[in-house]
Each structure stands twice: as C-alpha cells, then as structure tokens.
C-alpha cells in the first residue's frame, strides 16, 4: 500500500510570470523524503526548463531558496513535502515567490531592497583595532556575547521579512532581519558606532514600527527571534532619546 500511495503524483501549482502572472499546474512524481526544492528542480529539469528559481547549498546554509509554500514563507531545501501536504487528502503544493519583495520572474524575487535595509540599519561592523593590536577578548559566557549568539546565525533568507505584516503596511520599515542584524552589533562590545546605529534603527521606519506580533520569530528557520532583539532596540533607543543622544 505504501508503495502504491507513493505512486500517486503530487499536484503542484507554481507562480509563473512577473508581478503580473498566474499559477500553472504540474504533476510531479512523489519520492520518499522529497523536499519542496526537489519538486521545483524536477519541474525545471523535466517539465519546463524556463522556470526560474534560486538555490545554492541545498542544506540550509545559504538562504537563497526561500519561497512561499502554501502561503507560508519557508526554506524549501529543508522543508519536506510530507510536512506541508497530506498525501491522503491529495493536497496541492502551491509555490509562490516570497511576499513583500518585487517579483523578477516566477519564483525569483528582487532582494536588493531587503539587503539595502541591512545597510540602512547600519549592519556593518565598525571596529577600532588594527592588525598590529592584540585580539579583543570577548568572554563566551558574557551577557552581551550570549545575546549576539542568539541573533548571529541568520542566513539572510528573507523568510521573516516576507512574513512581516508591518513590512506590507509600511514599505519603508527596515524589517526583522535588518533589525536583528543591528541588534547583534549593538551587543558587540568591540563596535564603535553604537549611537549612529541607534539613530538609524529608531523611529517609525525602524524598530518602533514593530507590532511585536512575533510572526518573524515563529517562521525563522534558524530559530532566531528578531522580535526579542527589536524589543531590545526599542528600549535602548527610547533611553537614548530621553537622554538626548539621538538628536
């Protein structure tokens, strides 16, 4: 029976076109432990070579394969088809490009703005040491380093950004990933641009726009909680504003 049910093809709908486009239906053979990315790859290699999509590592490290899977943003290389569709109910697998980003073609989005916002949130490290100085010592169990640890494993996949309603409502909002990056630097004791960074992330297109509804934290495939970092930024920025350090 198991062998037989594995034979029933998987029904897939994939977004084709740019900003204007439509879903096109495909049928893909089911395989054991099949990932959503495997399905897309099959469509491109065996059914329609003109399908555009992004991937690289296939093991959850590069962050390039994120798509909207049945309406939820996910990393597709590490999402099993069986996790998101029920074979017994003959569920359709619907794949679309990530929300909140302009569509280039099919499943590829233009991520420029997403990454530009990292730069706007002052996501660059500003050091003070030169190659002639000693290494700085940051104790792994210091409170700051622990906060950095909780935020640092971001792979830049954009899942959180695509899941954030505030980005949809307020397109200039920096979004969870950029603010999470800023938070990891705010806690970097070696960084020398802290006030500049707080200035860049404060305000109504920065951390203060966040509604704390935690969708980003729920969806982040790396288990990062941007919401927690954003709350931290709100507290620090408000304190700095009251002291007059943000003017």
């Amino acid at each position: 029976m198991v062998g037989l049910s594995l034979m029933r093809p998987l029904k897939v709908k994939i977004w084709r076109g740019g900003q204007q486009g439509a879903f096109v239906a495909y049928e893909v053979p089911r395989l054991a432990s099949q990932s959503v990315l495997d399905v897309v790859t099959y469509v491109q290699r065996s059914l329609d070579p003109s399908l555009s999509y992004r991937f690289s590592c296939r093991v959850g490290m590069c962050g390039s394969c994120a798509m909207s899977v049945n309406g939820v943003a996910r990393w597709t290389c590490r999402t099993h088809v069986a996790k998101v569709t029920d074979e017994a109910r003959d569920d359709v697998l619907e794949l679309a490009p990530l929300s909140n980003l302009p569509i280039i073609k099919d499943l590829t989005t233009d991520m420029s703005e997403f990454f530009d916002k990292w730069a706007k949130a002052k996501g660059q490290f500003t050091g003070t040491l030169t190659r002639d100085d000693e290494f700085s010592n940051v104790k792994p169990d210091s409170p700051e380093r622990k906060k950095v640890d909780a935020a640092i494993e971001c792979i830049g996949c954009g899942v959180c950004y695509a899941s954030c309603d505030t980005v949809s409502w307020r397109p200039d909002y920096l979004g969870p990933a950029a603010l999470n990056r800023a938070w990891s630097l705010v806690n970097d004791v070696r960084d020398a641009a802290q006030n500049d960074r707080l200035k860049s992330v404060a305000g109504d297109s920065g951390c203060h726009a966040c509604h704390t509804h935690t969708t980003c934290s729920e969806r982040c495939p790396k288990g990062i909680e941007p919401t927690a970092g954003i709350s931290g930024l709100k507290r620090l920025a408000a304190r700095a504003a009251i002291r007059g350090e943000l003017d």
Binding site: T166, W169, R170, K199, A202, G203, D204, G206, H208, K234, A237, A238, A240, A241, I242, G244, L246, D247
Partner: protein, 113 residues
Amino acid sequence: MKASTQAKLWYAQRISAMLLALCVLVHLVTILYAMRGGLSAAEILARTRGNFSFAIFYFVFVLSVVVHAPIGLARIAEEWMQWRGRSLHIALLLVTLLLTVLGLRAVWGVYVG
C-alpha cells in the same frame, strides 16, 4: 517625524499603556461593585462629589487616554490608510484636544457637578 521624537512617543505610549491597564481595571471593578450594590445615579454622584482621590484617579485616567489614543491612531492612519504628514498631525491634535476637553469635563461633572 524625527527618530528621537518617535522613540519618545513610543516611550510615552508604553508608560500610558501601563497606567491605562491599571486604570481600566480599577474603573471596571468600581462599576461592578457599584452596580451590584444597586446604587442609583444620584447615590453614586453623592459619593463622587467632593471626593478628591476619586477626581485625581480619573484625572490620571483621562491623561493617559489623551497620551495613548492619538499615538495609536497615528499608527492606524499611517499603516492602514497611508495617511501621513502635516494633515495627520493637525487632525490628531484636534483629537487630542477633544479627548482632553471631554475627559476633563466628565471628571469635573462627577467631582463638582
């Protein structure tokens, strides 16, 4: 609006939210208590008039509403109606004035008459 102003507004809204949580609770418990006791409007007014702590409590209540509501309305206008800038600020200023006048008038009504 300047980032530092936004940050301060956020702080003001947070503090006023804490006050509101407390005030609403006290307010509701008072209403339930008065209603269960079957007090009439006249009996309630007899208790509130000239009661200074009562007036102070509602003064703080009104104040936190006046701070909290316009900041929240600004968010809704910006995000759901794409209404920003000067015209929004003027409209919110009017809302703030209205809330202040109505709120304080009500406090005055139950305290003085």
